[in-house]
Symmetry: C3
Protein backbone atom coordinates (compact mmCIF):
# COMPACT_ATOMS: atom_id res chain seq x y z
CA UNK A 1 0.00 0.00 0.00
CA UNK A 2 1.40 3.39 -1.03
CA UNK A 3 1.84 6.12 1.58
CA UNK A 4 -0.67 9.02 1.36
CA UNK A 5 0.59 12.35 -0.02
CA UNK A 6 -0.72 15.61 1.49
CA UNK A 7 -0.35 18.79 -0.57
CA UNK A 8 0.17 22.36 0.65
CA UNK A 9 0.94 25.15 -1.84
CA UNK A 10 0.37 28.84 -2.51
CA UNK A 11 -0.80 28.08 -6.07
CA UNK A 12 -4.48 28.93 -5.54
CA UNK A 13 -7.26 27.29 -7.52
CA UNK A 14 -7.40 29.38 -10.69
CA UNK A 15 -4.70 27.58 -12.70
CA UNK A 16 -3.81 24.01 -13.66
CA UNK A 17 -0.66 23.94 -11.49
CA UNK A 18 -2.00 21.79 -8.63
CA UNK A 19 -3.69 19.47 -11.11
CA UNK A 20 -0.44 19.00 -13.03
CA UNK A 21 1.41 18.12 -9.81
CA UNK A 22 -1.23 15.45 -9.13
CA UNK A 23 -0.74 14.07 -12.65
CA UNK A 24 3.02 13.85 -12.08
CA UNK A 25 2.48 12.06 -8.75
CA UNK A 26 -0.09 9.69 -10.21
CA UNK A 27 2.17 8.76 -13.14
CA UNK A 28 4.88 7.57 -10.69
CA UNK A 29 2.71 6.30 -7.84
CA UNK A 30 -0.55 4.98 -9.30
CA UNK A 31 -2.29 4.15 -6.02
CA UNK A 32 -1.16 6.76 -3.49
CA UNK A 33 -3.96 8.66 -1.83
CA UNK A 34 -3.53 12.35 -2.74
CA UNK A 35 -5.08 14.74 -0.21
CA UNK A 36 -5.24 18.55 -0.36
CA UNK A 37 -4.38 20.36 2.85
CA UNK A 38 -4.45 23.94 1.56
CA UNK A 39 -3.60 25.60 -1.75
CA UNK A 40 -4.48 29.11 -0.62
CA UNK A 41 -1.42 29.81 1.49
CA UNK A 42 -0.66 33.54 1.20
CA UNK A 43 1.75 33.83 -1.75
CA UNK A 44 5.30 33.31 -0.58
CA UNK A 45 4.27 33.46 3.10
CA UNK A 46 6.41 30.81 4.77
CA UNK A 47 5.09 31.48 8.29
CA UNK A 48 1.53 31.03 7.05
CA UNK A 49 2.42 27.74 5.32
CA UNK A 50 4.27 26.55 8.40
CA UNK A 51 1.23 27.30 10.58
CA UNK A 52 -1.07 25.34 8.26
CA UNK A 53 1.08 22.22 8.31
CA UNK A 54 2.03 22.39 11.99
CA UNK A 55 -1.60 22.47 13.12
CA UNK A 56 -2.62 19.64 10.76
CA UNK A 57 -0.01 16.94 10.43
CA UNK A 58 -0.89 14.93 13.51
CA UNK A 59 -4.43 14.45 12.22
CA UNK A 60 -3.16 12.48 9.20
CA UNK A 61 -2.26 8.78 9.00
CA UNK A 62 1.17 7.63 10.05
CA UNK A 63 3.76 7.72 7.27
CA UNK A 64 1.90 10.37 5.30
CA UNK A 65 4.18 12.36 2.99
CA UNK A 66 3.69 16.13 3.36
CA UNK A 67 4.57 17.97 0.18
CA UNK A 68 4.93 21.70 0.82
CA UNK A 69 5.57 24.02 -2.12
CA UNK A 70 5.78 27.58 -0.86
CA UNK A 71 8.88 28.73 -2.57
CA UNK A 72 9.71 32.45 -2.82
CA UNK A 73 13.28 31.38 -3.61
CA UNK A 74 12.49 29.20 -6.64
CA UNK A 75 15.24 29.64 -9.22
CA UNK A 76 17.77 30.75 -6.57
CA UNK A 77 20.31 28.63 -4.71
CA UNK A 78 18.02 27.47 -1.88
CA UNK A 79 18.18 23.71 -1.32
CA UNK A 80 15.37 21.20 -1.83
CA UNK A 81 15.06 18.89 1.20
CA UNK A 82 13.23 15.85 2.57
CA UNK A 83 12.88 14.95 6.25
CA UNK A 84 11.79 11.71 7.89
CA UNK A 85 10.48 11.78 11.46
CA UNK A 86 9.15 8.93 13.61
CA UNK A 87 5.73 9.13 11.96
CA UNK A 88 5.83 11.26 8.83
CA UNK A 89 7.76 12.49 5.81
CA UNK A 90 8.14 16.11 4.69
CA UNK A 91 9.35 17.42 1.32
CA UNK A 92 9.91 21.14 0.71
CA UNK A 93 12.35 23.89 -0.15
CA UNK A 94 14.84 24.65 2.65
CA UNK A 95 13.29 27.98 3.59
CA UNK A 96 12.05 27.52 7.13
CA UNK A 97 8.59 26.14 6.33
CA UNK A 98 9.41 22.97 8.31
CA UNK A 99 10.97 24.70 11.36
CA UNK A 100 8.26 23.32 13.63
CA UNK A 101 9.35 19.76 12.82
CA UNK A 102 12.82 20.45 14.16
CA UNK A 103 11.25 21.76 17.35
CA UNK A 104 8.57 19.06 17.83
CA UNK A 105 9.89 15.81 16.40
CA UNK A 106 12.84 13.45 16.37
CA UNK A 107 14.55 13.64 13.00
CA UNK A 108 15.36 10.17 11.69
CA UNK A 109 16.76 11.31 8.37
CA UNK A 110 17.33 14.56 6.50
CA UNK A 111 18.58 14.84 2.91
CA UNK A 112 19.27 17.43 0.25
CA UNK A 113 17.38 16.47 -2.89
CA UNK A 114 20.15 16.64 -5.48
CA UNK A 115 19.76 13.42 -7.47
CA UNK A 116 18.26 14.45 -10.77
CA UNK A 117 17.48 10.84 -11.68
CA UNK A 118 14.39 11.25 -9.51
CA UNK A 119 13.29 14.58 -11.03
CA UNK A 120 11.36 15.02 -14.25
CA UNK A 121 13.74 14.92 -17.23
CA UNK A 122 13.50 18.65 -17.85
CA UNK A 123 13.64 20.89 -14.79
CA UNK A 124 12.26 24.39 -15.36
CA UNK A 125 13.43 27.49 -13.49
CA UNK A 126 10.01 28.31 -12.11
CA UNK A 127 7.99 25.14 -11.42
CA UNK A 128 9.99 22.93 -9.06
CA UNK A 129 6.70 21.75 -7.54
CA UNK A 130 6.06 19.84 -10.75
CA UNK A 131 9.63 18.99 -11.76
CA UNK A 132 11.33 18.15 -8.42
CA UNK A 133 9.02 18.06 -5.40
CA UNK A 134 6.06 16.10 -6.83
CA UNK A 135 8.21 13.28 -8.25
CA UNK A 136 10.19 13.01 -5.00
CA UNK A 137 7.01 12.81 -2.91
CA UNK A 138 5.70 10.12 -5.26
CA UNK A 139 8.89 8.08 -4.84
CA UNK A 140 8.66 8.38 -1.04
CA UNK A 141 5.03 7.23 -1.22
CA UNK A 142 6.43 4.11 -2.95
CA UNK A 143 8.74 3.58 0.06
CA UNK A 144 11.97 4.66 -1.60
CA UNK A 145 14.47 5.43 1.20
CA UNK A 146 15.48 9.08 1.71
CA UNK A 147 19.20 8.33 1.38
CA UNK A 148 18.53 7.01 -2.13
CA UNK A 149 16.77 10.23 -3.11
CA UNK A 150 19.37 12.69 -1.82
CA UNK A 151 22.54 13.36 0.14
CA UNK A 152 22.27 13.23 3.96
CA UNK A 153 22.73 16.62 5.61
CA UNK A 154 22.84 17.72 9.24
CA UNK A 155 19.43 19.02 10.17
CA UNK A 156 21.14 21.72 12.25
CA UNK A 157 22.04 23.32 8.93
CA UNK A 158 18.39 23.83 7.91
CA UNK A 159 16.94 27.31 7.74
CA UNK A 160 14.60 28.10 10.61
CA UNK A 161 11.83 30.65 10.89
CA UNK A 162 12.48 33.12 13.66
CA UNK A 163 9.58 33.62 16.00
CA UNK A 164 9.01 37.37 15.87
CA UNK A 165 7.07 37.60 19.14
CA UNK A 166 8.68 39.64 21.90
CA UNK A 167 7.49 41.58 24.91
CA UNK A 168 8.35 44.42 27.20
CA UNK A 169 6.70 45.17 30.52
CA UNK A 170 3.67 46.75 28.91
CA UNK A 171 3.53 45.58 25.32
CA UNK A 172 3.53 42.23 23.54
CA UNK A 173 4.57 42.22 19.87
CA UNK A 174 3.77 39.38 17.46
CA UNK A 175 2.84 38.63 13.90
CA UNK A 176 -0.30 37.11 12.45
CA UNK A 177 0.39 33.60 11.14
CA UNK A 178 -3.13 32.94 9.82
CA UNK A 179 -6.17 35.09 9.10
CA UNK A 180 -8.93 32.55 8.59
CA UNK A 181 -12.18 32.48 6.63
CA UNK A 182 -14.23 32.94 9.80
CA UNK A 183 -12.36 36.10 10.79
CA UNK A 184 -10.04 34.56 13.39
CA UNK A 185 -6.50 35.96 13.56
CA UNK A 186 -3.87 33.57 14.89
CA UNK A 187 -0.56 35.09 16.02
CA UNK A 188 2.85 33.72 16.90
CA UNK A 189 2.53 34.97 20.49
CA UNK A 190 2.90 32.01 22.89
CA UNK A 191 -0.37 31.34 24.73
CA UNK A 192 1.29 31.32 28.14
CA UNK A 193 2.43 34.93 27.73
CA UNK A 194 -1.23 35.92 27.54
CA UNK A 195 -2.23 33.75 30.47
CA UNK A 196 0.42 35.38 32.60
CA UNK A 197 -0.88 38.76 31.48
CA UNK A 198 -4.39 37.75 32.54
CA UNK A 199 -3.24 36.85 36.04
CA UNK A 200 -1.83 40.33 36.72
CA UNK B 1 -15.23 -2.04 0.32
CA UNK B 2 -15.70 1.11 2.41
CA UNK B 3 -18.70 3.36 1.77
CA UNK B 4 -17.93 6.70 0.03
CA UNK B 5 -18.02 9.86 2.13
CA UNK B 6 -19.36 13.09 0.59
CA UNK B 7 -18.42 16.39 2.27
CA UNK B 8 -20.44 19.60 2.48
CA UNK B 9 -19.24 22.49 4.67
CA UNK B 10 -19.16 26.28 4.88
CA UNK B 11 -15.40 26.22 5.59
CA UNK B 12 -14.28 27.66 2.24
CA UNK B 13 -10.92 26.84 0.68
CA UNK B 14 -8.58 29.33 2.35
CA UNK B 15 -7.77 27.32 5.48
CA UNK B 16 -6.65 23.80 6.35
CA UNK B 17 -9.97 22.85 7.97
CA UNK B 18 -11.35 20.66 5.19
CA UNK B 19 -7.96 19.03 4.73
CA UNK B 20 -7.75 18.20 8.42
CA UNK B 21 -11.20 16.57 8.32
CA UNK B 22 -9.99 14.39 5.44
CA UNK B 23 -6.94 13.41 7.48
CA UNK B 24 -9.15 12.40 10.41
CA UNK B 25 -11.38 10.34 8.10
CA UNK B 26 -8.43 8.70 6.37
CA UNK B 27 -6.81 7.75 9.70
CA UNK B 28 -9.93 5.77 10.68
CA UNK B 29 -11.10 4.57 7.24
CA UNK B 30 -8.01 4.10 5.04
CA UNK B 31 -9.84 3.20 1.81
CA UNK B 32 -13.07 5.21 1.79
CA UNK B 33 -13.55 7.38 -1.26
CA UNK B 34 -13.74 11.00 -0.04
CA UNK B 35 -15.67 13.30 -2.40
CA UNK B 36 -16.24 17.06 -2.07
CA UNK B 37 -19.77 18.25 -2.74
CA UNK B 38 -19.37 21.91 -1.79
CA UNK B 39 -17.27 23.79 0.77
CA UNK B 40 -18.53 27.23 -0.19
CA UNK B 41 -21.94 27.06 1.45
CA UNK B 42 -22.81 30.57 2.65
CA UNK B 43 -21.48 30.79 6.21
CA UNK B 44 -24.06 29.43 8.64
CA UNK B 45 -26.76 29.31 5.93
CA UNK B 46 -28.67 26.11 6.67
CA UNK B 47 -31.18 26.57 3.84
CA UNK B 48 -28.34 26.96 1.35
CA UNK B 49 -26.61 23.82 2.63
CA UNK B 50 -29.88 21.92 2.56
CA UNK B 51 -30.45 22.94 -1.06
CA UNK B 52 -26.98 21.76 -2.08
CA UNK B 53 -27.40 18.31 -0.58
CA UNK B 54 -31.06 17.83 -1.58
CA UNK B 55 -30.30 18.46 -5.25
CA UNK B 56 -27.22 16.20 -5.25
CA UNK B 57 -27.62 13.11 -3.12
CA UNK B 58 -29.44 10.92 -5.62
CA UNK B 59 -26.54 11.30 -8.08
CA UNK B 60 -24.16 9.53 -5.67
CA UNK B 61 -23.66 5.79 -5.18
CA UNK B 62 -25.95 3.88 -2.87
CA UNK B 63 -24.81 3.82 0.76
CA UNK B 64 -22.78 7.01 0.41
CA UNK B 65 -22.29 8.82 3.72
CA UNK B 66 -23.16 12.53 3.50
CA UNK B 67 -21.22 14.56 6.04
CA UNK B 68 -22.70 18.04 6.43
CA UNK B 69 -20.97 20.55 8.68
CA UNK B 70 -22.87 23.81 8.59
CA UNK B 71 -23.10 24.56 12.22
CA UNK B 72 -24.04 28.05 13.43
CA UNK B 73 -24.83 26.44 16.81
CA UNK B 74 -21.41 24.85 17.42
CA UNK B 75 -20.60 25.09 21.13
CA UNK B 76 -24.29 25.36 22.08
CA UNK B 77 -26.65 22.59 23.13
CA UNK B 78 -27.76 21.51 19.62
CA UNK B 79 -27.54 17.75 19.09
CA UNK B 80 -25.27 15.91 16.67
CA UNK B 81 -27.23 13.33 14.66
CA UNK B 82 -26.93 10.55 12.09
CA UNK B 83 -29.73 9.27 9.87
CA UNK B 84 -29.98 6.10 7.78
CA UNK B 85 -32.43 5.97 4.87
CA UNK B 86 -33.04 3.16 2.37
CA UNK B 87 -30.06 4.20 0.27
CA UNK B 88 -27.85 6.67 2.13
CA UNK B 89 -26.44 7.90 5.41
CA UNK B 90 -26.39 11.48 6.68
CA UNK B 91 -24.34 12.97 9.53
CA UNK B 92 -24.85 16.56 10.71
CA UNK B 93 -25.83 18.87 13.52
CA UNK B 94 -29.55 18.79 14.34
CA UNK B 95 -30.30 22.21 12.88
CA UNK B 96 -32.67 21.53 10.01
CA UNK B 97 -30.06 20.96 7.29
CA UNK B 98 -31.50 17.47 6.68
CA UNK B 99 -35.19 18.46 6.68
CA UNK B 100 -35.59 17.34 3.07
CA UNK B 101 -34.69 13.77 4.05
CA UNK B 102 -37.60 13.62 6.44
CA UNK B 103 -39.87 14.78 3.63
CA UNK B 104 -38.45 12.61 0.79
CA UNK B 105 -37.19 9.36 2.32
CA UNK B 106 -38.09 6.51 4.63
CA UNK B 107 -36.04 6.80 7.78
CA UNK B 108 -34.58 3.45 8.79
CA UNK B 109 -32.62 4.70 11.78
CA UNK B 110 -31.97 8.00 13.52
CA UNK B 111 -29.55 8.49 16.42
CA UNK B 112 -28.12 11.22 18.61
CA UNK B 113 -24.33 11.05 18.45
CA UNK B 114 -23.47 11.03 22.12
CA UNK B 115 -20.91 8.22 22.46
CA UNK B 116 -17.60 9.93 22.92
CA UNK B 117 -15.70 6.67 22.33
CA UNK B 118 -16.19 7.40 18.64
CA UNK B 119 -15.05 11.03 18.79
CA UNK B 120 -11.47 12.25 18.79
CA UNK B 121 -10.03 12.05 22.30
CA UNK B 122 -10.14 15.82 22.80
CA UNK B 123 -13.28 17.59 21.60
CA UNK B 124 -12.86 21.33 21.08
CA UNK B 125 -15.64 23.90 21.48
CA UNK B 126 -15.36 25.16 17.92
CA UNK B 127 -14.37 22.38 15.51
CA UNK B 128 -16.89 19.53 15.83
CA UNK B 129 -16.38 18.82 12.11
CA UNK B 130 -12.94 17.50 12.97
CA UNK B 131 -13.61 16.12 16.47
CA UNK B 132 -17.08 14.56 16.16
CA UNK B 133 -18.57 14.51 12.66
CA UNK B 134 -15.55 13.36 10.63
CA UNK B 135 -14.75 10.38 12.91
CA UNK B 136 -18.42 9.34 12.96
CA UNK B 137 -18.68 9.47 9.15
CA UNK B 138 -15.50 7.40 8.93
CA UNK B 139 -16.94 4.75 11.26
CA UNK B 140 -20.16 4.61 9.19
CA UNK B 141 -18.05 4.20 6.05
CA UNK B 142 -16.60 1.12 7.79
CA UNK B 143 -20.15 -0.21 8.23
CA UNK B 144 -20.48 0.42 11.95
CA UNK B 145 -24.22 0.35 12.77
CA UNK B 146 -25.85 3.64 13.75
CA UNK B 147 -27.19 2.24 17.05
CA UNK B 148 -23.60 1.53 18.09
CA UNK B 149 -22.59 5.14 17.40
CA UNK B 150 -25.43 6.87 19.24
CA UNK B 151 -28.75 6.65 21.06
CA UNK B 152 -31.86 6.09 18.92
CA UNK B 153 -34.19 9.09 18.83
CA UNK B 154 -37.58 9.68 17.24
CA UNK B 155 -37.04 11.47 13.96
CA UNK B 156 -40.16 13.50 14.68
CA UNK B 157 -38.06 15.33 17.27
CA UNK B 158 -35.58 16.64 14.70
CA UNK B 159 -35.45 20.32 13.90
CA UNK B 160 -36.97 21.19 10.52
CA UNK B 161 -36.42 24.15 8.28
CA UNK B 162 -39.57 26.10 7.72
CA UNK B 163 -40.31 26.84 4.11
CA UNK B 164 -40.70 30.61 4.09
CA UNK B 165 -42.63 30.79 0.83
CA UNK B 166 -46.17 32.11 1.08
CA UNK B 167 -48.59 33.83 -1.23
CA UNK B 168 -51.55 36.12 -1.35
CA UNK B 169 -53.76 36.72 -4.35
CA UNK B 170 -51.27 39.04 -5.99
CA UNK B 171 -47.89 38.40 -4.46
CA UNK B 172 -45.69 35.38 -3.91
CA UNK B 173 -43.00 35.64 -1.20
CA UNK B 174 -39.99 33.33 -1.01
CA UNK B 175 -36.34 33.24 -0.11
CA UNK B 176 -33.31 32.54 -2.26
CA UNK B 177 -31.80 29.16 -1.38
CA UNK B 178 -28.89 29.34 -3.84
CA UNK B 179 -27.26 32.11 -5.86
CA UNK B 180 -25.01 30.24 -8.25
CA UNK B 181 -21.78 31.04 -10.08
CA UNK B 182 -23.63 31.49 -13.37
CA UNK B 183 -26.02 34.07 -11.94
CA UNK B 184 -29.02 31.79 -11.38
CA UNK B 185 -31.12 32.46 -8.28
CA UNK B 186 -33.02 29.47 -6.91
CA UNK B 187 -35.86 30.18 -4.47
CA UNK B 188 -37.93 28.08 -2.09
CA UNK B 189 -41.12 28.90 -4.02
CA UNK B 190 -42.74 25.63 -5.17
CA UNK B 191 -42.65 25.34 -8.97
CA UNK B 192 -46.36 24.54 -9.18
CA UNK B 193 -47.28 27.90 -7.63
CA UNK B 194 -45.63 29.56 -10.61
CA UNK B 195 -47.20 27.21 -13.10
CA UNK B 196 -50.62 28.00 -11.69
CA UNK B 197 -49.76 31.68 -11.90
CA UNK B 198 -48.82 31.22 -15.57
CA UNK B 199 -52.16 29.66 -16.36
CA UNK B 200 -54.09 32.68 -15.08
CA UNK C 1 -7.85 -1.17 -13.15
CA UNK C 2 -10.06 1.73 -14.26
CA UNK C 3 -8.56 4.58 -16.28
CA UNK C 4 -8.11 7.89 -14.41
CA UNK C 5 -10.53 10.73 -15.20
CA UNK C 6 -9.22 14.32 -15.24
CA UNK C 7 -11.78 17.14 -14.94
CA UNK C 8 -11.67 20.63 -16.45
CA UNK C 9 -14.70 22.93 -16.22
CA UNK C 10 -15.71 26.57 -15.86
CA UNK C 11 -18.08 25.70 -13.00
CA UNK C 12 -16.05 27.34 -10.21
CA UNK C 13 -16.12 26.10 -6.62
CA UNK C 14 -19.17 27.84 -5.18
CA UNK C 15 -21.83 25.33 -6.27
CA UNK C 16 -22.40 21.58 -6.09
CA UNK C 17 -22.01 21.08 -9.86
CA UNK C 18 -18.51 19.57 -9.88
CA UNK C 19 -19.40 17.40 -6.90
CA UNK C 20 -22.49 16.07 -8.64
CA UNK C 21 -20.44 15.15 -11.74
CA UNK C 22 -18.10 13.18 -9.48
CA UNK C 23 -21.08 11.38 -7.96
CA UNK C 24 -22.33 10.45 -11.43
CA UNK C 25 -18.88 9.16 -12.41
CA UNK C 26 -18.47 7.21 -9.19
CA UNK C 27 -21.87 5.56 -9.53
CA UNK C 28 -20.82 4.11 -12.93
CA UNK C 29 -17.10 3.60 -12.35
CA UNK C 30 -16.57 2.84 -8.65
CA UNK C 31 -12.76 2.72 -8.70
CA UNK C 32 -11.61 5.29 -11.26
CA UNK C 33 -9.22 7.88 -9.93
CA UNK C 34 -10.93 11.30 -10.32
CA UNK C 35 -8.46 14.20 -10.56
CA UNK C 36 -9.24 17.92 -10.83
CA UNK C 37 -7.24 19.84 -13.41
CA UNK C 38 -9.00 23.20 -13.16
CA UNK C 39 -12.56 24.30 -12.44
CA UNK C 40 -11.85 28.02 -12.69
CA UNK C 41 -11.61 28.29 -16.46
CA UNK C 42 -12.95 31.73 -17.44
CA UNK C 43 -16.68 31.23 -18.06
CA UNK C 44 -17.25 30.09 -21.62
CA UNK C 45 -13.62 30.84 -22.61
CA UNK C 46 -12.70 27.99 -24.94
CA UNK C 47 -9.18 29.27 -25.65
CA UNK C 48 -8.48 29.44 -21.92
CA UNK C 49 -9.75 25.88 -21.41
CA UNK C 50 -7.75 24.66 -24.37
CA UNK C 51 -4.58 26.23 -22.96
CA UNK C 52 -5.11 24.56 -19.58
CA UNK C 53 -5.49 21.09 -21.05
CA UNK C 54 -2.81 21.44 -23.73
CA UNK C 55 -0.14 22.37 -21.18
CA UNK C 56 -1.14 19.60 -18.79
CA UNK C 57 -2.14 16.38 -20.51
CA UNK C 58 1.31 14.92 -21.05
CA UNK C 59 1.97 15.06 -17.29
CA UNK C 60 -0.86 12.58 -16.64
CA UNK C 61 -0.75 8.77 -16.84
CA UNK C 62 -1.25 7.05 -20.16
CA UNK C 63 -4.88 6.31 -20.98
CA UNK C 64 -6.20 9.07 -18.74
CA UNK C 65 -9.64 10.32 -19.77
CA UNK C 66 -9.80 14.12 -20.03
CA UNK C 67 -13.31 15.40 -19.42
CA UNK C 68 -13.66 19.03 -20.52
CA UNK C 69 -16.93 20.85 -19.90
CA UNK C 70 -16.63 24.41 -21.17
CA UNK C 71 -19.79 24.71 -23.11
CA UNK C 72 -21.09 28.14 -24.17
CA UNK C 73 -23.27 26.28 -26.69
CA UNK C 74 -25.10 24.02 -24.22
CA UNK C 75 -28.70 23.62 -25.34
CA UNK C 76 -27.81 24.45 -28.98
CA UNK C 77 -27.02 22.05 -31.81
CA UNK C 78 -23.29 21.67 -31.12
CA UNK C 79 -22.15 18.04 -31.06
CA UNK C 80 -20.77 16.12 -28.08
CA UNK C 81 -17.59 14.25 -29.02
CA UNK C 82 -14.97 11.82 -27.78
CA UNK C 83 -11.46 11.40 -29.20
CA UNK C 84 -8.91 8.63 -28.68
CA UNK C 85 -5.23 9.33 -29.36
CA UNK C 86 -2.22 7.05 -28.93
CA UNK C 87 -2.05 7.76 -25.21
CA UNK C 88 -5.19 9.50 -24.00
CA UNK C 89 -8.94 10.01 -24.29
CA UNK C 90 -10.78 13.32 -24.51
CA UNK C 91 -14.50 14.01 -24.01
CA UNK C 92 -16.00 17.46 -24.67
CA UNK C 93 -18.43 19.54 -26.68
CA UNK C 94 -17.33 20.05 -30.31
CA UNK C 95 -16.44 23.71 -29.86
CA UNK C 96 -12.71 23.88 -30.52
CA UNK C 97 -11.51 23.16 -26.98
CA UNK C 98 -9.57 20.12 -28.27
CA UNK C 99 -8.02 21.79 -31.35
CA UNK C 100 -4.52 21.25 -30.01
CA UNK C 101 -5.05 17.47 -30.09
CA UNK C 102 -5.69 17.57 -33.81
CA UNK C 103 -2.42 19.50 -34.21
CA UNK C 104 -0.24 17.47 -31.81
CA UNK C 105 -1.48 13.89 -31.83
CA UNK C 106 -2.45 10.98 -34.04
CA UNK C 107 -6.19 10.48 -33.82
CA UNK C 108 -7.05 6.79 -33.43
CA UNK C 109 -10.78 7.27 -33.12
CA UNK C 110 -13.28 10.12 -33.08
CA UNK C 111 -17.02 9.77 -32.40
CA UNK C 112 -20.12 11.87 -31.99
CA UNK C 113 -21.76 11.00 -28.67
CA UNK C 114 -25.30 10.32 -29.78
CA UNK C 115 -26.22 7.07 -28.03
CA UNK C 116 -28.54 8.04 -25.23
CA UNK C 117 -28.25 4.59 -23.63
CA UNK C 118 -25.01 5.85 -22.14
CA UNK C 119 -26.42 9.15 -20.85
CA UNK C 120 -28.38 9.65 -17.65
CA UNK C 121 -32.02 8.75 -18.17
CA UNK C 122 -33.16 12.36 -18.12
CA UNK C 123 -31.03 14.83 -20.06
CA UNK C 124 -31.55 18.46 -19.05
CA UNK C 125 -31.09 21.44 -21.38
CA UNK C 126 -28.44 23.07 -19.24
CA UNK C 127 -26.28 20.48 -17.46
CA UNK C 128 -24.77 18.16 -20.07
CA UNK C 129 -21.68 17.84 -17.86
CA UNK C 130 -23.79 15.79 -15.48
CA UNK C 131 -26.17 14.13 -17.92
CA UNK C 132 -23.94 13.31 -20.93
CA UNK C 133 -20.23 14.00 -20.46
CA UNK C 134 -19.69 12.56 -16.96
CA UNK C 135 -21.40 9.22 -17.72
CA UNK C 136 -19.50 8.89 -21.02
CA UNK C 137 -16.14 9.56 -19.32
CA UNK C 138 -17.04 6.97 -16.69
CA UNK C 139 -17.79 4.37 -19.37
CA UNK C 140 -14.46 5.10 -21.11
CA UNK C 141 -12.69 4.70 -17.77
CA UNK C 142 -14.24 1.21 -17.70
CA UNK C 143 -12.65 0.52 -21.12
CA UNK C 144 -15.80 0.75 -23.19
CA UNK C 145 -14.74 1.28 -26.85
CA UNK C 146 -15.48 4.67 -28.40
CA UNK C 147 -17.38 3.15 -31.33
CA UNK C 148 -19.82 1.64 -28.85
CA UNK C 149 -20.45 5.04 -27.27
CA UNK C 150 -21.04 7.03 -30.44
CA UNK C 151 -20.97 7.22 -34.21
CA UNK C 152 -17.55 7.54 -35.88
CA UNK C 153 -16.99 10.93 -37.53
CA UNK C 154 -14.15 12.35 -39.58
CA UNK C 155 -11.96 14.42 -37.30
CA UNK C 156 -11.51 16.90 -40.13
CA UNK C 157 -15.10 17.93 -39.42
CA UNK C 158 -14.35 19.06 -35.87
CA UNK C 159 -14.48 22.72 -34.98
CA UNK C 160 -11.04 24.29 -34.53
CA UNK C 161 -9.99 27.36 -32.61
CA UNK C 162 -8.41 29.91 -34.88
CA UNK C 163 -5.14 31.26 -33.62
CA UNK C 164 -5.70 34.99 -33.54
CA UNK C 165 -2.04 35.96 -33.55
CA UNK C 166 -0.85 37.90 -36.58
CA UNK C 167 1.93 40.32 -37.31
CA UNK C 168 2.95 43.13 -39.56
CA UNK C 169 6.46 44.53 -39.92
CA UNK C 170 6.19 46.53 -36.73
CA UNK C 171 3.40 45.06 -34.64
CA UNK C 172 2.51 41.62 -33.31
CA UNK C 173 -1.12 41.01 -32.33
CA UNK C 174 -2.25 38.16 -30.09
CA UNK C 175 -4.73 37.26 -27.40
CA UNK C 176 -4.16 36.28 -23.79
CA UNK C 177 -4.94 32.58 -23.29
CA UNK C 178 -4.26 32.53 -19.55
CA UNK C 179 -3.87 35.18 -16.84
CA UNK C 180 -2.48 33.23 -13.92
CA UNK C 181 -2.63 33.61 -10.15
CA UNK C 182 0.98 34.82 -10.03
CA UNK C 183 0.34 37.62 -12.54
CA UNK C 184 1.76 35.90 -15.62
CA UNK C 185 -0.03 36.56 -18.90
CA UNK C 186 0.31 33.83 -21.53
CA UNK C 187 -0.60 34.76 -25.13
CA UNK C 188 -1.21 32.78 -28.31
CA UNK C 189 1.79 34.44 -30.00
CA UNK C 190 4.24 31.74 -31.15
CA UNK C 191 7.49 31.94 -29.19
CA UNK C 192 9.63 31.94 -32.34
CA UNK C 193 8.03 35.18 -33.55
CA UNK C 194 9.42 36.86 -30.48
CA UNK C 195 12.84 35.28 -30.83
CA UNK C 196 13.01 36.57 -34.41
CA UNK C 197 11.99 39.99 -33.13
CA UNK C 198 14.79 39.84 -30.54
CA UNK C 199 17.39 39.15 -33.20
CA UNK C 200 16.55 42.32 -35.14
Amino acid sequence: MARPIVLTTDFGHSDNYVGIMKGVIRKISPFADILDLNHNINQGDIANASYNIETAYNYFPDYSVFLCVIDPGVGSERRAIAIETENHFFVSPDNGVLSFILKNENIKSCVELNKSDYFLKEVSDTFHGRDIFAPIAAHISLKKELHELGTPINHESLIRLENTAHKSEEVIHGKIRQSDYFGNLITDIPADWLEKKKKN
